[in-house]
């Protein structure tokens, strides 16, 4: 009698504990089906739509977020530089390379908790393509650093890991099927503070 009770409790403990625990573990990670990876940039194109997978839907429902619609824009997030190293706030980075067609785009940085990094002083926390210095061949080079840099400078502050968020507005790529063929700028580490 006691033995079968013990076995029942064991079964239930494994079922409930294992089931709930595995959901909790799965939702804590950033993995998602339908992720588009271009270089170091990732876009979650189905997140926040009816086409998202159940894991994405469950995670999304705990985030108090509303995703951009396909007619609005498409967001790419980079957490690593082009050597695969994590982006760190005490380092400086150069963002340079091809940009896909869009009406305009914006670039900002978020800390490891997902909050927008607002720089000290009156500098804006983001850059946008209407107000940038361009090279002779119309390309854009941007420096992300805690220290002032010539040219286009995205100012950040603080310490620790961060992510770069590049959003293209009113772009045909958001609804296009051939999205993996586009090129995005490279993120290169320039150097770090000691």
């Amino acid at each position: 009698m006691l033995k079968s009770l013990l076995l029942t409790v064991t079964t239930l403990a494994i079922a409930l504990g294992g089931g709930a625990g595995s959901v909790w573990l799965a939702l804590d990670r950033d993995f998602e089906f339908g992720t588009i990876a271009i270089g170091n940039w990732k876009a979650f194109s189905t997140r926040g739509t009816a086409g998202a997978d159940p894991y994405s839907k469950a995670r999304f429902s705990r985030e108090a977020d509303l995703a951009l619609g396909s007619a609005e824009g498409l967001t790419f997030i980079a957490r690593d530089d082009n050597t695969g190293e994590m982006l760190r706030l005490h380092c400086a980075y150069r963002i340079e390379g091809p940009l896909p067609p869009a009406r305009f785009w914006t670039l900002h940085a978020r800390d490891s908790a997902g909050k927008v990094i607002v720089p000290a002083g009156t500098r804006a926390p983001a850059l946008h393509s209407y107000a940038l210095l361009r090279e002779g061949d119309n390309t854009v080079t941007t420096t992300v650093s805690r220290h002032a840099a010539p040219g286009n400078w995205l100012a950040v502050r603080g310490d620790g890991a961060f992510s770069l968020v590049l959003t293209f507005y009113d772009t045909a790529m958001a609804s296009g099927a051939r999205i993996t063929e586009i090129d995005l700028p490279h993120v290169t580490r320039l150097g770090c503070d000691a």
């Binding site: 033995k3 076995l7 029942t8 064991t10 079964t11 239930l12 403990a13 494994i14 079922a15 409930l16 504990g17 294992g18 089931g19 709930a20 595995s22 959901v23 799965a26 939702l27 926040g48 739509t49 009816a50 998202a52 159940p54 894991y55 839907k57 469950a58 999304f60 429902s61 705990r62 985030e63 108090a64 977020d65 509303l66 995703a67 951009l68 619609g69 396909s70 007619a71 609005e72 824009g73 967001t75 009406r103 305009f104 914006t106 900002h108 997902g114 927008v116 607002v118 009156t122 804006a124 926390p125 983001a126 946008h128 209407y130 107000a131 968020v165 959003t167 507005y169 009113d170």
Partner: protein, 180 residues
């Protein structure tokens, strides 16, 4: 020993079932989604700033160069009209269902006139509207959405701080009204 193995195996199968059930139930029972965040600060059919100045934004992923407003609605009470006037560099609009899933989106390039004037209606309400179009909806763009409760969000681009007042006034001037 044999019975313990049986119990563990049964437990693992049960864990799989519990995993799936919990996963599918999370969205329905979540208290941390956008709908809950918005319903804490405003009622239905009220234009609410989603990134109030000087406070934490209601939504996680709002672009710092954008201002956004949202309005919760319930189509079972009647159709919802969102309209406003003025000119801003860029605006876009999205309709979300109760779970925060994007069901429709549009930007200022895809509307015939610069004024924002949308009516959200269910397919059944659309049939009624087509039969007898109210005169005030003459210039409206109709969005057919097969949902009851939902959120409509307008985002407007604010290129720099000097635009802040213009954009904030524009968004605050939008009207989100129920038409029964």
């Amino acid at each position: 020993m044999h019975r313990l193995l049986h119990a563990i195996l049964l437990g693992l199968v049960g864990a799989g079932i519990v995993h799936i059930v919990v996963l599918l139930m999370v969205p329905a029972y979540s208290q941390r989604d956008a709908w809950s965040a918005l319903s804490e600060v405003s009622n239905f059919h009220t234009i609410t700033r989603l990134d109030p100045p000087g406070a934490a934004p209601l939504l996680g992923s709002i672009d710092p160069l954008f201002n956004a407003v949202g309005c919760r609605f319930d189509l079972s009470e009647g159709v919802v009209r969102l309209n406003g006037g003025g000119k801003v560099p860029y605006w876009s609009l999205s309709v979300y269902d109760r779970a925060g899933q994007n069901v429709f989106s549009v930007n200022d390039n895809s509307t015939p006139n610069p004024n924002l004037d949308f009516v959200v209606a269910t397919p059944v309400q659309m049939i009624e509207l087509r039969n007898a179009l109210p005169p005030e909806f003459d210039g409206s763009v109709f969005i057919e959405a097969d949902i009851d409760e939902g959120i409509v969000v307008v985002r407007a681009f604010s290129p720099d701080d000097t635009w802040e007042d213009t954009i904030a006034t524009y968004l605050a001037g939008l009207a989100c009204t129920l038409h029964q």
